[in-house]
């Protein structure tokens, strides 16, 4: 399975990334492309921009783990995840998830799984600029609930003895 995970400052081209994934393949019958976009409001008030801080090294490693988990759960022909960081204005893309499979159920499910996990486990933190102030965005309970649906325990270190 072809897996691409990139963390970058620059905007991405969703159509080009999707085309890269499928080029030359005859086994792919379904491609799901999800883009997360910066909205112009947060908590009902307009925003000037979002700034995304991230943990370089861990962000890539964590998303690669999510992709490996998706690959273990569903028959996927390819996955691309691109997550931006830095200052992002309303209307701009933040995150891209592309999943490809022979049939649509795996492609849809894997894309949703990856987004639910990105929202809760990928080390990024958003700040909003509103009315000249910058403040940290609070996580949403709905995102934790969504990730919980997939019932994968957090792997990691054992308890200390």
């Amino acid at each position: 399975m072809t897996a691409t995970v990139r963390i970058q400052r620059e905007p991405f081209d969703a159509a080009a990334e999707s085309a890269k994934l499928t080029r030359g393949r005859t086994d792919i019958g379904a491609v799901v492309t999800f883009s997360g976009i910066c909205r112009g409001d947060e908590n009902g008030r307009p925003i000037a921009a979002l700034t995304l801080e991230h943990y370089p090294g861990m962000a890539e490693a964590e998303i690669e783990r999510h992709v490996a988990e998706a690959q273990a759960r569903w028959p996927l022909a390819g996955v691309t995840v691109i997550h931006r960081h830095g200052r992002i204005e309303p209307g701009e893309d933040i995150v891209l998830v592309v999943t490809a499979s022979s049939h649509r159920d795996a492609a849809f499910a894997a894309a949703e799984f990856l987004m639910d996990y990105l929202k809760t486990h990928a080390p990024f933190w958003k700040q909003v600029e509103q009315a000249g102030n910058k403040s940290w965005v609070e996580p949403k309970r709905a995102d934790d609930a969504a990730a919980g649906r997939w019932s994968t325990p957090l792997r990691g270190r054992d308890a200390a003895e």
């Binding site: 997360g36 995304l52 801080e53 991230h54 943990y55 090294g57 861990m58 962000a59 490693a61 964590e62 997550h83 933040i94 995150v95 987004m115 990105l118 929202k119 809760t120 486990h121 990928a122 080390p123 990024f124 933190w125 958003k126 700040q127 940290w136 965005v137 609070e138 996580p139 995102d143 957090l154 792997r155 990691g156 270190r157 054992d158 308890a159 200390a160 003895e161």
Partner: protein, 86 residues
């Protein structure tokens, strides 16, 4: 004493006033939550950052860990608020 690199992100970083530091940890600190308690006692800015340990998340060598996880052999320990990516 074990020397370990600590990294701070988002408002944890802002409250402490620096993105990272390397510290020698006393041998009796064995878990993530013990380390948080020890850091919180280092000064006002640390106490402010770690005032509510329940909202602090941690990673060791780029892996998410729990409060009771061991810090044995850790090279890099990061502390941050709940994540808001995606």
């Amino acid at each position: 004493m074990a020397s370990v690199k600590l990294r701070y992100f988002a408002w944890v970083r802002e409250r402490i006033g620096k993105p990272d530091e390397t510290l020698d940890l006393p041998a009796e600190i064995k878990t993530v939550e013990q380390l948080i308690a020890w850091l919180g006692a280092r000064g006002e800015e640390y106490a402010y950052a770690f005032a509510n340990p329940k909202v602090i998340r941690a990673a060791i060598d780029h892996n998410h860990v729990r409060p009771d996880s061991t810090i044995k052999d850790a090279r890099e320990i990061a502390f941050f608020p709940p994540m808001t990516g995606g």
